[in-house]
């Protein structure tokens, strides 16, 4: 049944996917297996975007399906013993920018791939990142931004982190539609990711998983 769930999600058959999740949950399928199927489906969706057969609307719809699926299995998830997490990632859209579609997908993918994620939302001031680092102690920071003015905000955020003496031992990745190697250099980040899976791979590499 989990194969069916993967294709239902990947093919954007929302109602069928949710029906399957409810059925699987009722029949005692572990929520972890359901999340695994969701992750596999996201991989397929990502490949289709790469190939140019899926576009932004499919990504957004996938995000909505993931939220709904998580809602359905939440009670079961809560019963599980605390899963051992690989590491902590602090993520947010930088100051002056309010785009959150990509960031939300990256958050979800990090979460289902075993990271403890704290998402600060959008238009996050540098000082807020600094405070959250002190409080949450992440190993990885994800800065998101789509507007060109986000490039400066990313640079400012990373400078604020340096200024607070928190940069050492911290890995910073950036992402967003227009991010390039040049912007990575400009902002002072350690790496940039083209898509959500690239973000997961970077985080994995950095925490040694």
């Amino acid at each position: 049944m989990s194969k069916k769930l993967v294709s239902a999600i990947a093919d954007m058959r929302e109602e069928e996917a949710l029906k399957l999740v409810r059925k699987m949950t009722a029949e005692g399928t572990s929520p972890v297996a359901i999340l695994d199927a969701a992750r596999e489906a996201m991989g397929v969706i990502g490949e289709r975007c790469e190939k140019g057969t899926y576009f932004l609307p499919e990504l957004i719809m996938a995000g909505e399906m993931l939220t709904q699926i998580t809602e359905v299995i939440r009670p079961e998830l809560a019963k599980l013993p605390e899963i051992k997490r690989h590491g902590k990632v602090l993520i947010g859209t930088v100051k002056g920018d309010i785009h959150d579609i990509g960031k939300n997908i990256v958050s979800f993918m990090l979460d289902v791939n075993g990271f403890d994620v704290r998402d600060l939302g959008v238009d996050v001031a540098p000082q807020k990142f600094v405070e959250a680092i002190r409080d949450f102690h992440p190993q990885v920071i994800g800065l998101s931004g789509f507007l060109t003015l986000a490039f400066d905000a990313m640079k400012e955020t990373i400078e604020a982190i340096k200024g607070a003496d928190l940069r050492d031992g911290l890995k910073i990745m950036i992402g967003g539609g227009q991010i390039t190697e040049q912007i990575k250099e400009y902002s002072g980040a350690d790496a940039y990711g083209r898509d959500a899976m690239a973000g997961v791979s970077l985080a994995r590499k950095w925490v040694g998983k």
Binding site: G52, F55, L56, P57, I60, I101, T148, D152, I183
Partner: protein, 276 residues
């Protein structure tokens, strides 16, 4: 020449080809884009120096000085950076349009005084420090605040180009409807002001974008848009524009349309229609 006033969008440093030309100080590439857009009927040329923000004032000045000897139309200086804008205004020869102010304090305080001082026209985006309002009413409220500010600075309404903001349909399929409603309301409430919009954002993240852009342009014209930031070298959008203005009764004796036909604007679509 269409009744819609066109701001040619191509000289934008966020486009890789233009960014490269700016980086290499490639005069020929920039001048070619300028001349071709002017010939295609642009009323202004948008000039955006792009993303190397510490270099932006120098890049913008270089662009202006490169473009203005080869075209007669004014420029539309496109920057959120008051330093770059002030630098650009020192070298620009014909009074430019300024792109843009919004309800964000930094933009209002940094850019509006320059608009007033230099007698420019200005694009005013219907968004503020808290973001882009989702509803038509929310955007109108921002527009009211902006017009209060421009009037207080002595900028007459007919130099203000209100932008209702086109957001991608990929994220919200009602977004074009909100923009169109906002155009109609703005037209009613600020009859002296102009209405302008960057069109192509409407189709961001979708395939075969030109179809969406054309449909949106035509509906926006019907709603009252009088200015648009677009690519005047896109023959299909220009052909759709000329045809739509004729249909809307804005083309006396169909003269623009038949002129465009004689100039070959419809040549490609004609050939395609014959084949089909």
């Amino acid at each position: 020449m269409s009744s819609l006033k066109i701001i040619g969008e191509k000289i934008n440093g966020t486009r890789p080809r233009v960014a490269q030309a700016i980086g290499q100080r490639d005069v020929a590439v920039i001048r070619d884009l300028a001349v071709k857009q002017a010939e295609a009927g642009a009323a202004w040329l948008d000039v955006n120096a792009g993303t190397r923000s510490s270099a932006e004032p120098y890049d913008l000045v270089w662009l202006i000085e490169t473009i203005q000897p080869v075209v007669e139309i004014p420029l539309c200086l496109d920057s959120a950076n008051p330093l770059a804008m002030a630098a650009g205004l020192r070298v620009v020869e014909r009074t430019p349009m300024i792109n843009s102010i919004s309800g964000e304090a930094r933009r209002l305080e940094g850019i509006l005084p320059l608009v007033a001082e230099h007698g420019c026209s200005v694009i005013a985006l219907a968004m503020d420090g808290t973001g882009i309002p989702e509803t038509c009413e929310g955007r109108l409220e921002v527009a009211r605040k902006l017009v209060t500010e421009t009037r207080a600075s002595g900028v007459p309404d007919d130099r203000v180009y209100l932008d209702p903001l086109a957001m991608t349909l990929a994220a919200n399929t009602k977004s074009a409807q909100v923009a169109l409603d906002t155009i109609r309301e703005m037209r009613r409430e600020f009859p002296e002001a102009h209405l302008s919009m960057g069109l192509s954002n409407i189709s961001f993240g979708l395939p075969a974008r030109s179809h969406i852009n054309r449909a949106f342009l035509i509906l926006a014209l019907a709603a009252g848009l009088d200015t648009a930031i677009l690519d005047p070298l896109d023959r299909e959008i220009m052909a759709a524009l000329v045809a739509a203005e004729l249909v809307l009764g804005q083309d006396r004796h169909c003269l623009n349309y038949t002129r465009a036909y004689r100039a070959g604007l419809f040549a490609r679509s004609d050939a395609m229609a014959t084949r089909a």
